[in-house]
Symmetry: D2
Subunit: 497 residues, 4 copies
């Protein structure tokens, strides 16, 4: 074993090997390298490294003559990566090794001091947490955009009647606004879950080292603050073993996609010839390579399908973690592609859904027409009988009988002659008959949260306030102190707060 | 169609049928009935019904002469169900039909007025929400109990050394307290997720009707308050279609079980002949039907396996919801068995884990012995060289060379003669050599969150505070106003707050 | 430790404990006992035990005076279990312990010799394999019944026209027979997978002991033959660790359920007011507790939802096995509830689907009407132009233009005046115009496997042959030799072949 | 709408649009394009297109003057794609559109005739089937290679003793060969499943058109034969809707990876300091960026983790298909990335596992040493007592008592003085004592499939035969007739068989 010269530069991108006589089998290298996918983390690792180096400098672990070239070198790399003039490439085992290698090529010996008081275990985790938080914010904003489309459409359609469905059977008259707002509230809950995942990812693991902390006088709270992370790890072993922030994020994405799949299913249904509640604008539909007459709701179908993918990502992540002993195990390397995919899918799907929602050409006449012939106000008949003293169960049975009568006669409920109606419903009267039109039915649904236009307008206000809350949340997330210091070129000497 | 007599009692447990000429095929009945599993909801549906009836009475929808027997009848049923003197049975299609049928048998005609202004869609959802919240609380408490076991063990072992592992390879000395606390923090996050799921389940859907609200002058905020639910649905269509509270709860259970599986894996490892860090007390181990010498960690293995089950439950629930159009669809009936199973598994696993953790007979001598021979302080050597001015990468290489040297010589790192060590590490000195024992290494890990005993004692305080926060949360959840009124027998005339 | 008297009877249902001073914690007992669910295996374990005892007797390991009471006692228990006069109950840790305990209570000392040369590891596995094979056969037969319903409906509807859909958009005319047969072929593949899983489960593990075989002169091939299992384990460690037969079966169930969910989705669509291709007979539909007019396709929705459950079961099983070292681990105990649920769900869903399919009241007039207005024969126009020398891409564009023209004019394609059509499609002629009716289009789809009635009739023959093949498979599975010997009361002295 | 000139070339890669006024929204285009991932299908689509064109020519649907340039142009593209001189690029919506566009650029008008009598629905499916079959074969071969490594190691270690484990507790002595062969048999079953999936994928959908077949006189059996596919679709609707071949393949991959995860877990355990049954060669291990002494089994950990990924892929695929009505829906586009990932992971993992298995430096002394101190022959004692007339249960208890005695005395079972042993086991004798060494125990496990060396040598012969069967299967899969004709440059005029 030769003692290496302290000035000797790292020649490969491997951060270890002092004890290894033979180099890695190429097939094993290909199998274990994460560079093809973790290169996405380059920007985040560079920010993490900047914060780490700055803290080491502040704490006196790195002298000025090492800290200056390191901060300068990392900043240069970050600039070049963001401008596109520096691309991740090479045979390194991961993006962290690549960064250290390139830094060494650029600044020489000081680069060999950067890894002081950290390990790849905490280094990777902090980069991934920063990445996840950024991507969550993008999803959150995209969700707000989609919510806004729905709110605008809802505002226009507080008086547009269509059937509400249960079991895909026409049930009772509702308004289009009410229907769209039902989707809105699910998406609002999705954004709350994204906010919770964002908070979960906001615990900095930097300073945990491999698993036990470090003897160097570091300040993990300082690196956390520099990186804009509100909390710091309580336990170094936990810090390198924990992936809750990844799994929670994947879950938030999966449930969000499930909600989009429900909307997408309705787009597919509504644009079918059979339902016809909407047509797709040409800009959101596709044609057939064979059938010239086709106009297919492919974006909606794909949206529906994408939910399966994120459910798969979540399953993979939970299964991955199952049965792993403490602390870091290389299985965790598999967390990245799954969470990248879940977040990519989430953001792209939200953007597509917003365009798709905006490309729906609604056919309110068809909607209104669908209120006829299905006896959608039979419940109103029962409810009216209740008001007139009939027990609900009995009223339900009488209304059922009235439906059969109307069906046989080919009439709407409200078209039944009163005396005939009274055969089935002895307590029926003219007022009750008048309450059986779809419009009257809808107006009567005045209970809080109900489908009546007045209630829906109140609900719209609530929805706007909820949306605003979400918008404020994302607006409040600011670039981190280290990022601002980088942008303003004051990484070394000035105070960073 | 015969007009039914208003006095006519419901003879079957079916809440509908006025329009149906033929009764359900027996195979279809068996396939669609939920009574075999939703009977668990009986207590919760009775509470929901009490709140509904009370509100209807307060709002004048139910007159006193109907409300009194209904409230009385429901209270009697609840008492009998809880005492075990009334068992759910029969051929009803679900527990809601069973309750209405039995109520009818007990109080006659007024029972037919109970379903006024509600549908099974909102009725089922509120009962399931109440059930889920109760079960979450049980899980939350069981998690606190397990946490307490770990905290107590940690308090005893702040000076007990053992190797910390990465990649199941001995890495650096840590204390047993630090190791156990790593599990603690994961479980604390689990309880935070359970709290979030509890809050999510706290939105009352009662009053949404089938999907559109109701013309009756109901007060959904009042039923919510009576049931101890802090929020009320904003949109009636959303209220009957949403199952986020189920999926979020299942997710919290699955991730919790994954954490338990990591602990369980360690119990299996630690009690193996090869590791030997612990033996299992007889009360938590099982033997072999064939091999008389065996003592098997079956509870730990089963705990590990149970995680798979809850991942399956979560997958099922997300898949179930995928692509469903608004609003209620019978697919949702499948939510129950999955969430029951996830919550049952979660609670039982937590209770078993607490007993298992308490049944670990730790072998601290074996733990300490495992610190030898693996060069676990090589990082300390590198860190010490860094302090002496060597760049970390170079120090890492030199320490690697020192490891090879010690390995060849069959010595511990700290047993190497200084002059020999200096061949690999020119800047090494006596002080550095003295820093290479496991004890010295451990004491040096003084960074915040690190493994040094002093840091771990601070961490213990944080952990106790976190546990207390959890205990306060569960202590603050009180019986609902309607429950208290039921217990105090003042359901009708006195004010309920 | 007291030396036990050889005559001493086991007093508890525990098969071990010689080395244990303290008995199991009650919470751990509840957590680890499998009796509540593995009691389903009682019949299969008794058969396995009969075969084991008979083989031991044949090989001289059990003397006649032990073998006779054992065989007799086991046969009595099997009779009583099947007649219902003996129910599994008690505090035993599993059904195997229960059987041995009850046998001991019935026949005394010889019962203590039954476990010679086996372990619960191979004992459980063989019982589960027998159970799985039986349940697979039930599913296979239920699938054939459903297939038969579809074939009968197809035979009636080889000339019934309806639109074929892609993207839920009307695409081209097909026949109802063709549509139903598409589902048939998927189900046929499901039965092939069930047959493969049946074969996979047909390897006997009995004789593997705990993991290493046994010194007793046993004959695993003989027990396999007695149990009707065609193959015997090649490796004793593999035999107790393998659960491929469980996972493969769960997969076959899950994919089958996914196929049923596709059919179910169509039932939901077809019975909606909007599509109206079918109505549900009263015996397969359900009503609403609130809305008297409703007729809900609940069995179809539930069928759709059940697929999620089996996907969850499969996920659980795969996740369960992940990362388990050889050989048997108690995690495997979790295989049972998942596979029981998958098989139960599969069989019940198939039976419900057959009743549901038979309860569809098809509305062929609505189907035919749906062929109009959607330009479903535009492809025929393009194809006709191709025959007339136009390149397909050009023909596709011209046909697209013709569709726009017809749409503007409010005409069907075949109603366009030829000279107008020729503006879009210069090579169109009278013959081509005549080929554009739905009927003509359908008749033209004469390519093999195509939708033309003649082709569909040929396909029906293929389908009948495929169904017959499946029926032959299940008919060929006969009771095992040990089962027949049991039924004929000749377990001890006569030859069993 | 302008009538397009028949000579007009397609300018974009879109195969439709005649009816669309506005082009696709860019966000929707990005969301829906499959080109970034389905470009892998280029070679397979070109082969499918060659077969289609050749068949159209044989059937007279394409005249020679169209067929010649088409076949020539496709062959040129295939050559260029395979040589790397033609890369998939551009803005096309999928690889099929790209191929038709490039073909058009190369050969002009005849390219517009290629899509005659097919749709992208059958075109995509046939390309994916061909891809899947190719990739399955690669996995199958890689599995055979890994199996071979195990067989070779087993052949060397038929006499190498180590403990067999249940519950990760030492159970009974086995040989290393027996242990390795247990993994072999699981992998053999995996290859059988891959063969079944290969067969499932061998049904050609080409000729199904969009969903209804075609009026052109095509010959689907001929295209199937040209492509080496042994079967042809029975039903055109089924052909474009079915994805069983994808799901079955994903399942085979997932279960295979689960098996690899079990082997990987053992590599992690065996190379731990605690077990020490093996060391990793430097070429298959990795080091630590922080801890110089570490040698981590990262390839094994990653292998274990990869199983989670394929379980996720399978879950995604099943969930994707759930609830889709007939026939083709764009959700199916999501099948590709999941199955590509599953197959990539499967092949790469198998190759890595083979290198890893070969890089295990086994420590047979450690293995042998692990046989001591754990009373692994207690079962032999019990079995010996049974031979001497003691009922097994009693023998089990006595052996348990002997274990406790030996434990207290600090002796191995076979070191106990006979008179002391007889206190626990009255019928013990010298012969029995002599049977209690690990070697004697192992030799006694002579039952078929047992661990005794003689049995294991027989098993090795079975395993070699099974491996040969697999090798023959993959060797028998030959290039398809169209591929051979392409390679021999005789696509147009000569007979292709």
């Amino acid at each position: 074993v030769s003692v290496r010269d302290e000035k000797n530069e790292a020649k490969t991108g491997k951060m270890w090997g002092g004890r290894f006589a033979v180099s890695l089998d190429p097939a094993i290298h290909r199998f274990t390298t994460s560079l093809p996918f973790d290169q996405r983390l380059a920007r985040y690792d560079l920010l993490g490294s900047l914060a780490h180096a700055r803290m080491l400098f502040e704490r006196g672990v790195l002298a000025r003559d090492a800290a200056a070239p390191i901060l300068d070198g990392l900043a240069g790399m970050l600039r070049d990566v963001e401008s596109g003039s520096l691309a991740v490439s090479g045979d390194d085992e991961d993006v962290h090794s690549w960064i250290e290698r390139v830094l060494g090529e650029r600044i020489g010996e000081p680069a060999r001091r950067l890894h002081t008081a950290r390990s790849r275990n905490d280094q990777t985790a902090v980069a991934l947490r920063l990445y996840v938080r950024d991507a969550i914010l993008r999803c959150h904003r995209a969700a707000s955009s989609l919510a806004q489309v729905w709110l605008e459409q809802a505002a226009e359609h507080t008086e547009t009647l269509l059937p509400g469905y249960t079991h895909l059977q026409r049930a009772q008259p509702v308004t289009l606004a009410h229907h769209l707002l039902a989707h809105f509230w699910s998406l609002r809950a999705d954004n709350e879950r994204l906010e919770a995942a964002y908070a979960r990812a906001g615990t900095s693991p930097l300073g945990a080292g491999a698993l036990a902390g470090t003897p160097h006088p570091i300040d993990p709270a300082r690196t956390a603050a520099l990186l804009g992370l509100p909390r710091v790890f309580p336990n170094s072993m936990w810090a390198v073993a924990d992936r809750d922030y990844v799994v929670e994020t994947a879950f938030a994405c999966a449930l969000l996609l499930v909600h989009l799949s429900r909307f997408a299913e309705e787009v597919v249904l509504w644009t079918s010839a059979e339902v016809g509640f909407a047509k797709l604008a040409d800009r959101v539909a596709k044609g057939s390579s064979l059938m010239p007459q086709k106009k297919n709701p492919e974006p909606a179908e794909l949206l529906r399908g994408k939910s399966a993918r994120t459910i798969g990502d979540l399953t993979a992540l939970l299964t991955l973690l199952k049965g792993l002993p403490l602390t870091y195990n290389s299985d965790l390397q598999e967390d990245k592609e799954a969470i990248f995919d879940a977040l990519d899918t989430c953001e792209a799907s939200l953007r597509a859904a917003a365009v798709l929602a905006g490309g729906l050409e609604l056919d309110v006449a068809k909607m209104r027409a669908a209120l006829h012939g299905g006896f959608l106000t039979a419940t109103d008949l029962a409810d009216g009988l209740v008001v007139r003293g009939v027990p609900f169960r009995t009223a339900h049975e009488q209304a059922g009988a009235a439906v059969q009568m109307a069906e046989r006669r080919g009439l709407e409920l409200w078209e039944l002659p009163l005396d005939e109606l009274r055969v089935a419903c002895p307590r029926a009267d003219e007022d009750l008959l008048g309450a059986l039109s779809p419009e009257a039915s809808l107006r009567s649904r005045r209970s809080p949260g109900g489908a009546a236009p007045a209630q829906v307008r109140e609900q719209l206000e609530l929805a706007r306030a909820a949306l605003d809350k979400g918008l404020r949340f994302s607006a409040e997330q600011r670039p981190s102190p280290i990022r601002l210091a980088f942008e303003q070129g004051r990484l070394l000497d000035e105070e960073i707060v």
